[in-house]
Symmetry: C2
Subunit: 258 residues, 2 copies
DNA sequence: TTGCTCCTCACGTCACGTGAGGTGGC
DNA sequence: TTGCTCCTCACGTCACGTGAGGTGGC
């Protein structure tokens, strides 16, 4: 007594839909039918179906099963290929699990690049956004340095004040804060020479790096913070002329406003 | 200067199509557009896109990313789930690699159930088909026994003769071969008690097992072989009456034919 | 008649990729 | 005008799953 589609599927440990799918792909021959159109499967179909499901369970794509013939031949090139693919997949998944382990260990947000986990708790949302963007612009050595900075240099009072600085901060406050931040910035520029020329650590070019960094900083800080950053930058690089120019421009602005 | 779709995608290390896909799934907000309809992405979009690609790279499904909010929160339940899934996936793939290693080691056909690799070379195509089908009908202990039989009991002259037996084999040949095979079969029935009642090792029921086995055997052996098997079975189980009946039936058949 | 099986489309899933067909910018 | 970019559908991929809508068997 031949088998119905359901019986065949259950014998092979698969589903009716899968069997029909294999017919459509010409992996499995269609059997004779009864007068009413019902399919009648024979042992040959079962054997073939078992071959298909075995290979499919091993992870061989159906398209490859088709070209493997009956695959009862000896260990095929296709299986070697599959094995190599599996090796790669396993390695990739294990790397991911490694990253997840670090995330769990540090309770760090998943979106930070690897390595910043341990210092994530000391970072503001703005810091994190900047780091995410920088990691797309700078090379690994630069990111290493930034990580070092984050973990080794404690936030000063001035840093905290800077973070909290609002748009309406007055000029004296902005000037003082710029001056307070300058020494720390100068230290950084001494310790990390490349920061004077960040483009040198940007694989996609200095112009690209400058543009992206600028865009990020302008979006993430308010106007008062941007001025303070600019002041600290000018002081720490000894650009006194430009500092004088800035003060003059602000004088002019105030006069216009009043 | 805001970014175009392509620029944004490249900054984030992904593709234009992926970005558009995230829009369609409402994972990423659509930016303002220029008069000509071109999209203009800001830093906020880049930050969000980097979050999305990071999670997607970790293997979080996009639908889950959507419900994770900005996912900048601490290690989320979703990541624990993901980690557990990864653990399972890796284990499964490693099991598969283990099976592949056995296949390579024994140069055995992939479609045989695990364990039959080492004896595959001694098996005929018919043997392999039978084993594949039996493995869907009998439990592991029964399959273990069959493997033992295959590996420990060498093929006799009679076995080889049986395999080669064609439909036109004459009655004397059939009778002799049945008698030659009977002692081996009797040994099996002594050593493996359950073979007298194979249904006892069939998780899906004795009737199902009988039906499937019968179907398989009838399809894989020719009429002469089937008769020889029947003879050996009757002799080894001591069913002399039925053997006499068989001979009588064959006598009658010959008379009719002549 | 009822409930169950079998059949054949056709569309859905997942994360995009691949054109098609049209427009804008230089 | 040419070549390149951007845009929006619409369909394809992979291995089936999920109905829909209809028929046969008891």
């Amino acid at each position: 007594m031949p088998w119905s589609t359901r019986e065949l599927a259950e014998l092979a440990g698969t589903t009716v839909k899968a069997v029909r799918h294999y017919h459509k792909l010409d992996l499995l021959e269609e059997p004779e039918r009864k007068e009413n159109g019902y399919k009648q499967y024979e042992v040959s179909h079962l054997v073939r179906l078992l071959q298909i499901t075995r290979l499919a369970d091993l992870g061989v794509p159906l398209g490859r099963i088709a070209t493997m013939g009956n695959a009862d031949d000896n260990p095929d090139e296709a299986l070697r290929v599959l094995d190599a693919e599996l090796e790669g997949t396993i390695a990739r998944l294990q790397r991911i699990r490694g990253e997840l382990a670090l995330i769990f260990e540090n309770r760090s947000p998943a979106s930070l690049p690897a390595g910043f986990g341990p210092v994530a708790s000391t970072m503001t949302e703005t810091d994190r956004s900047l780091i995410m963007i920088y990691s797309r612009v700078f090379d690994d050595s630069a990111m290493q340095d930034m990580q070092e900075i984050m973990s080794e240099i404690p936030a000063t009072e001035a840093d905290k004040e800077f973070e909290a600085l609002t748009l309406d901060a007055d000029r004296a406050t902005r000037r003082q804060l710029g001056e307070s931040l300058a020494p720390g910035l100068a230290d950084l520029l001494t310790k990390y020479e490349w920061m004077r020329d960040p483009g040198s650590k940007a694989p996609r070019g200095a112009a690209f790096a400058q543009g992206t960094m600028g865009e990020a900083i302008r979006a993430l800080y308010n106007q008062a913070q941007l001025e303070v950053l600019y002041r600290a930058h000018l002081i720490s690089t000894g650009a006194h002329d430009q500092l004088t120019e800035l003060e003059a421009a602000l004088d002019a602005q105030e006069r216009t406003a009043s």
